[in-house]
């Protein structure tokens, strides 16, 4: 399909600031590398036919409909929050997980269960190191998982770590990913890549809700200049109308106005359609107005199976998501799609450029309205 390679990836995605730092092009490619918030071409690669860096990038041509059909058997865009088997509200039953978690600890609890149950042997996650910079990490036990709990709100190239995993050593993998990363994984699932970790090994994709991510370079610099990072325990963006970015230390909370933080948003996030990681097995986010709980969207059989086990084993406390919350979630998800499509048209100056998304004409029309 594509006859493009790393040169085009650089010129069309990276130089244009459309790179989401998902990491999909790194890890098992010796030419492309991630360093401090940037993908760099180290040497020229001559591959153009089906170069995987270009092909699996979430910002290059993507057949949303085709992927949706392949993964779920449904066409894309029928529901604002993607294909849904169930929408719930949940939190970890284990208080020690909840204490460490961003919201309800659902992700940690689910992964912990998947490890215990042998559904996965390890999970690729984002770990915030002691200096608060995010880095990909392969968690292989409960302790590892707990170390990865909580969010730094910064983009992190976890797919690069996924690409490095030995095909033989880890045959059952989980991953926690942002919507852009889930999109790349979906591309891989639809057309499995060569010479990488077998995408069939990825047994569980937990997608996170995301409105935008912060630049791991510029935002980290900002944090370093304004905070004693070693003391930071947690970052949080409380739901509107708070408009704050909160930083918790062991004893204290300080805040930055959200506007100040927004300047560090990755430019690419303005062009992202997906708020709820629509191609994941399970998507997890916060619940507006209900502190300490997660919204959980179950999308696939693997997702259902895991939630069933969680219920049976008591790993999660599960409840119904209140109807107004679901409505609000859908509204927000639709708003992100509309905003993104309009941004793309605005930037490219041409509706034809939306062809790269492979959306149906009806959906395009609806979203641009």
């Amino acid at each position: 399909m594509t006859s493009k390679g790393c040169k085009e990836l650089i010129s069309e995605v990276i130089d244009t600031k459309l790179c989401a730092l998902c990491g999909a092009c790194t890890g098992n490619c010796p030419y492309l590398a991630y360093y401090k918030g940037r993908i760099t071409l180290l040497d020229n690669c001559s591959k153009t036919d089906e170069a995987q860096c270009y092909k699996y990038c979430p910002r290059t041509y993507i057949d949303m409909n085709g992927i949706s059909q392949k993964l779920f058997g449904t066409s894309y865009g029928e529901n604002e929050i993607g294909t849904v088997k169930d929408v719930l509200m949940a939190r970890a039953a284990d208080v020690s997980i909840r204490e460490k978690a961003q919201y309800g600890g659902t992700v940690t609890a689910l992964l912990s269960l998947a490890l215990v149950e042998g559904l996965i042997q390890g999970a690729v996650l984002t770990k915030t190191s002691s200096d608060k910079s995010p880095a990909p990490f392969l968690a292989q036990n409960a302790d590892d998982l707990l170390q990865c709990a909580g969010s730094s709100y910064m983009a992190c190239p976890v797919l690069g770590r996924l690409n490095q995993i030995d095909k033989i050593d880890c045959s059952k993998l989980g991953i926690v990913a942002m919507p852009c990363q889930v999109l790349s994984i979906a591309k891989m699932k639809a057309e499995p890549p060569q010479n990488r970790v077998s995408i069939g090994n990825v047994k569980l994709v937990i997608g996170l809700f995301c409105t935008w991510a912060l630049s791991p370079d510029k935002f980290y610099q900002f944090l370093k200049e304004n905070l004693e990072l070693a003391n930071v325990r947690k970052f949080d963006i409380p739901p509107p109308p708070a408009n704050r970015f909160d930083v918790y230390t062991a004893s204290d909370r300080s805040s930055f106005p959200l506007e100040q933080i927004r300047q560090f948003t990755m430019p690419t996030c303005a062009y992202c359609l997906d708020m709820t990681s629509e191609f994941a097995d399970v998507s997890v986010g916060s619940v507006e107005g209900i502190e300490g709980w997660n919204t959980v969207i179950v999308r696939t059989d693997a997702g259902s199976d895991l939630m069933e086990r969680a219920k049976k084993k008591g790993s999660l406390q599960i409840d119904k998501l209140p109807a107004p919350n679901l409505e609000h979630l859908k509204e927000a998800a639709l708003l992100k799609k509309k905003r993104a499509l309009n941004e793309i048209v605005k930037r490219s100056g041409d509706k034809k450029n939306l062809l790269y998304l492979g959306l149906s004409p009806q959906l395009t029309k609806k979203l641009l309205a």
Binding site: N28, C29, P30, Y31, A33, Y35, K36, R38, T40, L41, L42, D43, C45, S46, K47, E50, A51, Q52, C53, Q194, N195, R196
Partner: protein, 645 residues
Amino acid sequence: MANIEIDAPGTSQLLIGNEAIARGALEAGIGFAAAYPGTPSSEILGSLAQVAKKIGIYAEWSINEMVAIEAAAGASFAGIRALAAMKQNGVNVVSDFLANLVMTGTGKGGLVLVSCDDPSAISSSNEQDTRPAAKWLDIPLVEPGDFQEAKDMTKWLFDLAEEMGTICMLRSVTRIAHARGNVRLGELPNKPRKAHFEQVHDLRNVMPTTFIPIPSPFRHLLLHIKLDKAREKFESSPFNRYVGPDKPELMIITSGSCWLYSQDAVEALKLKDRVGILKLGTLWPLPERFVIEHMSKSDKVLFVEEIDPFIEGNVVELAGNFPPNAARPVFYGKRSGQINAYGELNPDMVIKAIANILGLTYQPRDIDYSKKAEAAAKSNVPDRTMTFCAGCPHRATFWSIKNALKLDGRDGFVTGDIGCYSMALGPAGFFQVRTMHCMGGGAGVANGLGKLGQFGFDQPVIAVVGDSTFYHATIPALINGIYNQSKFILVILDNSATAMTGFQPHPGTGITAMGEPTKVVSMEALCRSLGAHVEVCDPFDLKATTNTLLKMMTEDGGAKVAIMRRSCELVRIKKEKPPYKVHIDIDKCIGEACGCDRLCTRIFLCPGLVWDKKAGKSKIDEVICSGCGVCVDICPQGAIIREAA
């Protein structure tokens, strides 16, 4: 190397030009020799150092050419005959000392400077003719035309230097220095001189201890008197001679290796009875009467010499002083376009020039033949670009430099210097080196670049020097960078040898030219004492080296030093067995597929790795692979396997 101290007068030895010069120096009773290695001069001191202990002379590899010539002058002041040898660039380095030395004169020991030029810059950063230096520095200059002359002239030049009380210069070129021919040996003296620094006034040789009361113009006048005396000697020198008809149609004036090319050309054209060759051995001051006498035999003169029109200019200048109505020949050479003012000459070029002037047609050989000869020559040479040896630590270092500069992302670059690593201008070092001038020049250039922050410059600058180059000419630039807080990283490629010129020792190696153990001058201790932040890296640890460089690039402050320490592979291999046995796991090697695209044989380019086109896999060339194991760490698929050997 040949045995240059054999005491068998009258017998012939097969010597390269440099050995012949060294033998000439021995026959002249030399007591002191100093040099800094540089192709094509290195074998002069190399062969002297080998025999120095046995025959009771002193020989050293000096830290640089400047110290070499100064040390040799010191010996001369104390009455010991002394020689300093260097390549063309060395003459530039020592010119300030020479410009002062000619004013004071030398001591009672004759002092000879041997300058070896490298026309076509076969092993040099530049192409340069050092003969004009002799003219502007007022130094008597000779040039041997063959191997016998290389020896005889050197011996004779010491006598002249001693008699004149001034330094004399012998200029040689690659094709004399490195070619081999029969040399009839002369006698070796057996009475060593006693060294003593005479602190008395000597008008003939204006000694440095007494030069203060003598005004410079007067000393300059004395120097010109010396030169006139030398000219007078040159008029009857046996090293200048004419061979040819009494009234040649064309007179070739030539010297050095071009004399040999001229003889071949005349022979090939069968023009011995029409073309004469005036061969000059003493070039400056020009033996004017001798030249005029022979030049007047013909009305056409062709100058055959390499690089600059040195003889041509001086002879034309001489003809300019002829009386107004005197006959002047037509001059052919570089000005008229028959001879190039760049690159080496060869007999073909001289044939073309003669044929052009005399209106002859000459087909040197048929075109098919030359194509066939070229193909035959190529079939014996592996088809690869100039590169570092298998296992060379420089390849690993430049890999890390490349990746660190790319990852840093601020368009950083490397200022280069003189050594094997100059090849990093090309694919061997992944095209990382962007500037290359003279010894120590890269660090100097980096000093300027590193101070441009106020003009918006934020590109990281890495100055790369070899260990020998560091001691030679980089230390002042480093001190400047620390004192003036210039932001750059000095990367010292410490492979524990002056590798490019043949592994001569330097102050970091702990051994002298004569094979004696000595104190190591520690480069890290030196740099730290200057206040530099110093890191010592193992270039074979690609990850750690890259990270160290990345970190240093973001640090504030002035010049920093990163020492890449790994022995030159050619040195190591003589002492140790290969550390690893390396092979390719062909199941893991994905060759040209996405995820590799032949990184090892397309980018890394170690000659130990070869591409098996048929199998679509990489292969280890077991003959060439040195077992360093570095490629294991660049293979993205983990397909290169190393096992302890």
